[in-house]
Symmetry: D2
Subunit: 456 residues, 4 copies
């Protein structure tokens, strides 16, 4: 995406907001106290028709605030839009007495931060849902930057957003749509912008990825936020499991010009689009629904597999190399990774492969985070969905980014429909990593190598 | 609606459910304990993809239960799916200490009845939202039948539904659609079924009401429950304010065959469709959005007015007549209402008109309920929306129902855009009934009549 | 269809026309000379934008004419809108000289009746295509009523319509749509009206036929005439080939509540909708495209078969019985057909079956019209499409109409995809009737019976 | 448009054709005799369902032919698919006898080149209409290149295409659609490609032109050729009549960010998209329908005007300067046009303006072609539509192309709804050029200047 384009887009949105504001009779730039007053007014209204214009006005004001004023607005939300302690105390006393459902209900109502009702009412405005998602995005930015204790109060606002969004973006409300060259440009430009795994350069690049007989792309949308995709997945139809991402991205991959000749659907990019929906999970639902769609369209498909990045592996490997306990039998050959463009030297590459692949298996299968789950986030996602860690592909991604973050490796996670449920349960219950014999063998070899044994 | 049609419809739904159930491998009819277990399983799942099938299964089971089992299921929800007292006590203690946002958040979470999370998860199923609305409909039926104290526990379940539905059916998520003869039959049959004010006999009757150049009909829909309208309003375009409903219903009203010749949009029927959404208010939003639509399409329209029934007036009038304090100067002429077919006798009708219209003004303007608001529910609705009580129409509805419930009267409530806000605020703040000079005069006359004075 | 409904519909259309006419400034009722003048004006215009309003006006005038004036209008078209003889003579002379393409082109242009250009220009009006189809319908009515020689001149107008319609309603312009309970009422009411094979009583009846898991209905539409179906076919999914129409029409047929359990798609009604498109053939394309659609949706379907009426068979049989050469061994038993309600007497029915079914086979296979093709029009249609005359069903249609026109028989024509081409070619080239062994046996038996032999 | 993009597009289409061909069992590349045979087969088929696959096959073969073979194919069409002379002679003899409608009909049928029926049958294929338009495009290319006498035979094929296309692309079958940023990319890329007046550089450029509150774009589509626009017009909303194209193209024009503030709709580009539809006129209908649309959306619009190029003016001016009769009082100042970048020198530009603008008026108003109509094709188009030659804008287009073809001039043609009909009629009947007083004055001055008088 070139900058001027984004710039223009941004100007455009601001233009519209300004226009709205002017048509609604607003003039001077508002500040956070005016906005907080507008929010109070909205809460005091009776929630009916006049509330719509109050909500629109408040959101237009928010969009006019500069960053500093927005911060003050969020602080005001934290301070003045929580709940009434006295009402809580009273409701709790009553509940303690009876422990029955009606008094629980009273207590629940008393405890609900007024922010939640505020957000529900802001949602009355015609673009309300999107604006609130956008507002949370701003809040999350502030949470990241703040020192911990201070962030806690703002964190409560985030909890309110999460609570509502989990309800509003319930999978029952999501709509799956196919994305292709017949999709409106207003949506496609968002696909270009939001692609997070393998950047899309421009419209021609997009066309190469989407508009071929061997490509599919699907996204979840929410009816109330129109053109904004929530998450999307890119798929290449293939004969056999793909090993390398570059041919797919280049669109050189056209031996499968007839989709009915493919036996594999390869998911090569899943991108979340809305920062403001962080923590609301869609990916799992998306993959499974897309598998259903593809099976319906192309009943001959037999394999559903990802071609996934391994972010963090290079970092972990560097730490290994820095670890003094690493046997020399590994340290020496790994040093060759420092050779510039090692991946272009076939002999060197082949030597490295015999060492790095086993270590990658080990990284993916054995290395765990504080919660006892795999350290690698992509692995966590697919294993949690019930997929199997199926194959590690040497030189799977030889882009600068791929080499830098994963020593060029990519991984196939395989979704075997009959095993998903069991894999998922074992993963949840026992953190078991489902993996293929091949990966298990690699891991075993890594164990031997770590002991300095010959890893054959 | 003839019965065989409804019967078939019902069979059809049951058929589909049964088919679903069979395809999902279910066999024997389940009972409430199985369903409660399924609900527990759903809550214990991790809320991701496997939850979809658990949710579908639970809803299919609910649909298989007979009425007695459903009652037991609701009792189980009340007993076993509330909150954990210990967790609440602990969270309250912490909150009491700090009174800060994070501890409030904890307390709020602890107080949320588990039913709410259960309902959110049931909503994962593909028809979940509709099924939950339907489930609440069943619950409301039980609440009506039960003796008070006993109903209280079930009432808490209803509060949970209300809480979620208010969020899910937020106006921001609703979609306004025009209903006409190009609308799918699956929706039109629901319009026939749900019309609550002036019954629609059959498809030919529907066509007369919808498919003419002087008719408009609009409904709110929710994206997740597809073909099911939530509420709809019927409009007739008119020259001047309409006084009588029968010509409109008969579709004889075609002097305005050119919509551009109309100056008035008359709202002659507003029907809520989903019993299971009781208390979630849409009507206000609907009327105002429809006014906007009509103004856009037909800029020459000047008056937006209802032709509304007066349910309860006949009942109130009977009570008046039974009241011993009623002066004989009223009692005697009112006795003529007992004459069969009095409305067909012009002289008699004219005599009654001079007495009954003032009493109707009095009933609408002065008679209040326990909360100090007008006794008449239709008046409450429109006055609450900011409309003006504009005109009382003698022989406005001479159907059996109209004569029986309102002595044949109908009322025009007028929506004057510039006054709506002020009327609404005065009504909310001071219960002021906005009314026209004509209605005020009628009311004054009624006051005199009540004192036995000559009411000229 | 009850009359009042059609009546109202008609009024409605007339209303709209009148409104259009009035808005366009027309006043008094026009006559045929005014219309012919308007047509001349349209032809003299340059065919661009002003022509649109000229065309609209001419069509509105046509709709205002009474039947007698319309007849005169058609006569005027025949007399004054043919071609210019002098121009033809000249062009022919030139063509005769050169015999080349350019002079042929000149001759072709000179011969084109001016009506064709007139119709193309009338088609500029927004509802033009539909109005022209409607106009031809009126013309066809006149052609039927007229004595032969006189009709010939009007017949030329019909040839002009045919020529244009064949081009405009080319299969490449047709759109296949599924008809179901989600189809707009405006279309469904036309399905009710146009069903020609087995009348649809009302909306409830329609719903029974369409809105079940085992039913499908498809229609061809033309983009320029919107809601008007051109032809539609009704399908019931079935296990095995259906024998009787009554259970299908009654919708009692629900053992196949799961469409995926069906192995047969039974086409039980094909109805042409537009009289004004007589002779423009769609049925063939429709059946084959529907077969494709169904195979895509339900790959397990193995048989595509009709359940078709046998109009004319009863008439033919009566003639047989009146034929003196009929052997007594047939005449006597056939006399039992005169017994009232013979089909309700199992013994009698069984006796008749052994005689009538062979005769039906003979009627369908052997009896030919002047062009050497089967006498039965339904047989001609399906055999011409490449289907096989597969089975004759005794008591297949026991409605009054079915008994009266076909002694209760119905026929299954089977579409075997691999045989269609060959059957079709043999039928076209040699008038060969493709039929099953069973039908061949019946025919053989009929031959013996005709000779008075014992037909075992 | 960069080349790689077009290249890829082209490959893509070829790919699909090849795939189709392979799936249909075709293998080696066909030649023109095979294709002509296939065409004969199609004509001999009975025009029903088997014809669809024959048509598809023939079109796929055509797409496989190289250019030389296609030429031979067209020659074959001219030679072997005309009409039968004997049949024509016979029909003419009969017609000569009777001069009645039936015999005229026979003659007309006999004269119709078999190509027309062939094209109608090729149109049965699913993409047939588009392929035929494409085929004519190829034919037109050949017609341009050929020497006259030789081209005549191929010209007859073109006449057949024209005859059919005029019928198929009747305005009654066209669909107007708004083009904006929500339009599918597959359509937008065609807008980029087909823009003929002011080239669109890339997607960002397109977005600037389309996706702003002050822009509108509309296109005509034909239902049978899906995503292919036939013609489109670009509109900028404006305060007052625009004088210069560059600010509009640059999208700097945002003082009108509120469309409701505009009083003028400026049509700044009309592009025909399908070479293969040359001579089938849409532009007139398009402009008038777009005016209707805009008036409906924005009732406050008062002026509908173009900002149009003046192709050919620079050429004409050069010829003037070369004409020896040109008075020196003009010749000398005009010589300054040879100064490089004269338009950047305000004094020089101002001097030239006083001479060149009058000459432009003269060129537009007085210079006529062989048919007595204005020499300038853009003037012919808009004057023929009934517009008025309203204003000549100095430095209206200072792009290289604008300077080169029109000395930087642009013209406003004004569409005054009440005058359109009269202007059009006067133009058609008397070739009258409707023009404003300002333009008339300029023309008068030019006349004086031509005589060497001082043109004040």
């Amino acid at each position: 995406m070139n900058m001027s384009f984004l710039q223009e887009l941004f100007n455009n949105i601001t233009q519209r907001d300004a226009l709205l504001w002017r048509r609604q009779g607003g003039s001077a730039t508002p500040d956070h106290t005016q906005l907080l007053d507008a929010c109070r007014g909205l809460l005091e209204s009776d929630g009916e028709a006049s509330s719509i214009s109050l909500a629109s006005r408040a959101l237009a004001m928010y969009n006019q605030l500069d960053e500093a004023e927005r911060t003050r607005f969020f602080e005001g939300l934290a301070d003045d839009f929580a709940a009434e302690p006295a009402r809580i105390d009273e409701a709790y006393a009553a509940y303690r007495e009876t422990r029955d459902n009606p008094s629980l209900q009273q207590l629940f109502d008393a405890c609900e931060p007024r922010r939640q009702e505020l957000f529900r009412r802001l949602n009355l405005a015609s673009n309300g849902t999107y604006e609130l998602v956008h507002m949370r995005e701003g809040l999350l930015g502030r949470l990241r930057e703040r020192p911990r204790p201070d962030a806690k109060e703002l964190g409560a606002i985030d909890a309110d957003f999460s609570h509502l969004f989990a309800s509003w973006f319930n999978r029952g409300f999501l709509v799956l749509k196919r994305i292709d060259w017949h999709t409106p440009a207003a949506i496609l430009e968002k696909i270009i912008r939001y692609e997070a795994v393998h950047e899309i350069q421009d419209w021609n690049d997009l066309r190469r990825r989407l508009d071929a007989l061997d490509r599919r792309c699907f996204a979840f949308f929410h009816p109330a936020i129109g053109d904004e995709p929530l998450i999307f997945v890119e798929v290449a139809l293939h004969k056999g499991l793909p090993q390398q991402i570059q041919p797919i991205l280049a669109g050189e991959h056209r031996e499968i010009d007839d989709p009915e000749a493919a036996d594999t659907a390869a998911f090569f990019g899943i991108s979340n689009c809305q920062t403001g929906l962080r923590g609301i999970s869609f990916g799992n639902f998306l993959i499974k629904q897309v598998v259903q769609e593809l099976k319906q369209e192309l009943p001959q498909l037999r394999h559903f597999v990802t071609l996934s990045p391994v972010p963090g592996f290079a970092h972990w490997l560097t730490e290994c190399r820095n670890d003094e306990s690493l046997p020399a039998s590994l340290r020496t050959p790994l040093a060759e990774l420092d050779t510039p463009d090692w991946h272009l030297d076939p002999g060197l590459s082949e030597r490295l492969k015999t060492i790095v692949k086993p270590l990658a298996a080990r990284y993916l299968v054995e290395e765990k985070n504080a919660r006892g789950l795999p350290l690698n986030p992509v692995a966590r996602f697919h294993l949690g969905n019930g997929a199997e860690l199926h194959r590690i592909n040497w030189l799977g991604d030889i882009s600068a980014k791929g080499l830098q973050q994963a020593v060029g490796l990519m991984v196939n996670y395989l979704y075997v429909l009959d095993d998903i449920e069991r894999n998922h349960e074992n993963y949840i219950a026992k953190a078991t990593v489902a993996c293929s014999g091949e990966v298990r063998d690699l891991n075993r070899r890594a164990r031997k190598m770590a002991k300095g044994e010959n890893a054959k």
